[in-house]
Symmetry: C2
Subunit: 404 residues, 2 copies
């Protein structure tokens, strides 16, 4: 008898009707001869309503109490799904994160999972019940309620699959799987059948927002194979797993784009040890998340340092940089919004040479001007004008032969 | 330093504004030099919404899952009140029933409290925090979430006050205290300063719906003195405590009325051992809650048995009685809706004779026809025509000198 962990997000359980539809899917999975553990998020909209309520009673609600408040959202979903299953004649039982044995550190609103003791889950599974676990939450060793932060329910599912040594972990969401590019931008994008953890991570960090990086990292670390698939149909999704030799035959797995980027350049930075550190320490202190960094070769003892960040970070970055630029004797700071990032990802890059050249070629042919370049072992990212990003994605996607 | 337990019901925490207003009251209580434990209900309307949701996913939601679902309502209130207090600069911490150490039996939706180990509460109090506990809930020894049923938050407050050996327990509600009669019916009704547990119980069971009987019983059993008072003003309320000798000087503590009653008579019941048992066993099996029972003296081997019940129970009672009446050879069953119960309550009755006579006299003088009579040691209840109940209450209230 196989053990399957299924995770359903907020949209999938967003109404009583959808909860019943999830219940039917879960029941089918059990009736096919499996032990089933279901992880659910809060019904869509519920978490936002709770956050709004919290702002109405306090300007700065404490993180401990936010966790107590928000964790009720997932708890509600678990009870409703259990009821729906029972209404269909199934045996089902709901568990909070704490009851499921998920122990975390005490970093409220962004707790890390310490360990999982899934004894209660196992007992209920052995008794023939579907076990429904509240995603996104756990408790400290001292018994305080914690939440795991963004993407927390995916993490719960993957961690439980690992702890239970489950045969399968399905992340059921509102898309059919991971695509070679966003189908809203590139209509002939194909669903990817299999992708490695590393590729999935690079796709996630370059704008494909299906899952948070931390869940993929966790899966990779504990070698949990999972499938991203739709909650609303039975189509096979995308299997995410450890790299296998065959995977390298495909040079490029996908193209991802990220809009709303901004480019900042600190000009005329004296070419001295420690100046870059000063700049990026100042940005870190101002909680600015920096993405691509490029430094030009020094010329007459001066260099330009550019980086990209989300457009929304500009407000925080500006004042921090003005101060540090003056302190290190740089000439000035310029900001450009309206740029976007295009990345090609594939573990095949490691063994196939000429990928970067081909990418630059495709962009040049299409008349797209490259503003910055950044590469990793399995990814090449370029910064382009935001207005041209969709056309560039189409050209690159077609040029690498990814179209369906 | 005194320890005070305060309980606020759903109306008192029904909006962010009201939660902030409760927070101010709680803070004042703490600043007056007290350790404060607050028990809260779900915000008014929340429990009903959750029940509605449950009906949308299942016709017959299981009791275990109802408890998981409904307990989120109180948990939400605790977090919001803690945030509001913290926003005012106070130290505050919320606890679920389970975290507060409230252990119950496994009777979901109507669990009984087994014991309370308030170690966590005590630690937080010693650390200077206001401790906010979710009312109405606990957990089994095996860790399943349970709820305590109607009036559960009052019970939580009284049980915690007992376990903590609190100096005071305040049940803060939307009325100023317990009145000699419902002021909406008898405008010159007075607030009662002090009332015994026993009187409070009889008032509760005869229609004064401020508190459920079980909370008063619990307080009586563990000798927890409590005060019923308003959440919205600082007026002193009604102290409920063990009987003291002076209390008997007042013959009648109050008059309570209960509308929407129905009278059912099984006519011509053969006067044989066991027939009454058959009738009331049949009613119990149909889950009909019976109130006053009267049996006339037998005449020619036949007797009439009458009882009252809530009007809403008639639907269940009818079929059950038709069957049993035929089985025991009774002549037939008659039903009368449109009756109401008027009760006078007072421990003074034990030592003062003639109370019943005076009540009947007052009713006769006013032209109110008594349909049934039932008495206990400290209560006399009569069944009257519902249309005349308000006038009868005024006459009795005035006649016993209860008016302000």
């Amino acid at each position: 008898m196989a053990t399957i962990v299924q995770k359903y997000g907020g949209t999938s359980v967003g109404s009583p009707e959808r909860i019943k539809s999830v219940a039917r899917r879960v029941l089918e999975t059990q009736q096919a001869g499996n032990k089933v553990v279901v992880v659910v998020s809060a019904m869509s909209g519920v978490t936002d309503s709770l956050i709004k309520l919290s702002r109405e009673v306090s300007d700065q609600p404490s993180e401990r109490e936010m966790d107590v408040l928000l964790s009720t959202g997932e708890q509600t979903s678990t009870a409703l799904l259990a009821m729906a299953l029972q209404g269909m004649g199934a045996k089902a039982v709901s568990l909070t994160g704490a009851q499921a044995g998920i122990v975390t550190d005490g970093a409220h609103t962004k707790a890390k999972i310490f360990n999982i003791t899934p004894g209660q889950i196992q007992d209920h599974l052995d008794g023939g019940a579907v076990v429904i676990v509240a995603g996104f939450q756990g408790q400290t060793a001292q018994g305080a309620i914690t939440t795991l932060g963004r993407g927390g329910s995916d993490l719960t599912a993957i961690a439980l699959a690992g702890a239970l040594k489950a045969d399968k972990c399905e992340i059921c969401t509102d898309v059919d799987g991971v695509y070679t590019c966003d189908p809203r931008i590139v209509p002939d994008a194909r669903k990817i059948d299999t992708i490695s953890y590393e590729e999935m991570l690079e796709m996630a960090s370059s704008g494909s927002k299906i899952m948070q990086s931390r869940s993929v990292e966790f899966a990779s670390k504990f070698d949990v194979l999972f499938e991203v698939r739709s909650s609303f149909n039975q189509n096979p999704g995308t299997i995410v797993k450890e790299e296998t030799p065959g995977m390298e035959d495909v040079v490029i797995r996908g193209v991802s784009i990220e809009r709303n980027q901004a480019k900042i350049t600190i000009e005329g930075v004296p070419d001295k040890t420690g100046t870059a550190a000063k700049i990026f320490n100042a940005l870190a202190a101002a909680h600015v998340v920096v993405d691509v960094i490029v430094q030009t070769a020094p010329h007459e003892g001066k260099t330009d340092i550019s980086f990209t960040t989300n457009k929304d970070e500009l407000e925080k970055a500006g004042p921090a940089l003005e101060a540090v630029a003056a302190g290190i004797g740089a000439r000035g700071v310029t900001q450009t919004a309206g740029v976007a990032k295009l990345s090609v990802v594939g573990i095949g890059m490691r063994t196939h040479s000429g990928v970067a050249a081909k990418l630059f070629d495709l962009l040049a042919t299409g008349g797209f001007n490259i503003q910055m370049i950044s590469t990793s072992e399995i990814k090449i990212a370029v910064i382009l004008d935001e207005d041209s990003i969709a056309e560039a994605a189409k050209a690159v996607h077609a040029g690498f032969g990814l179209a369906g």
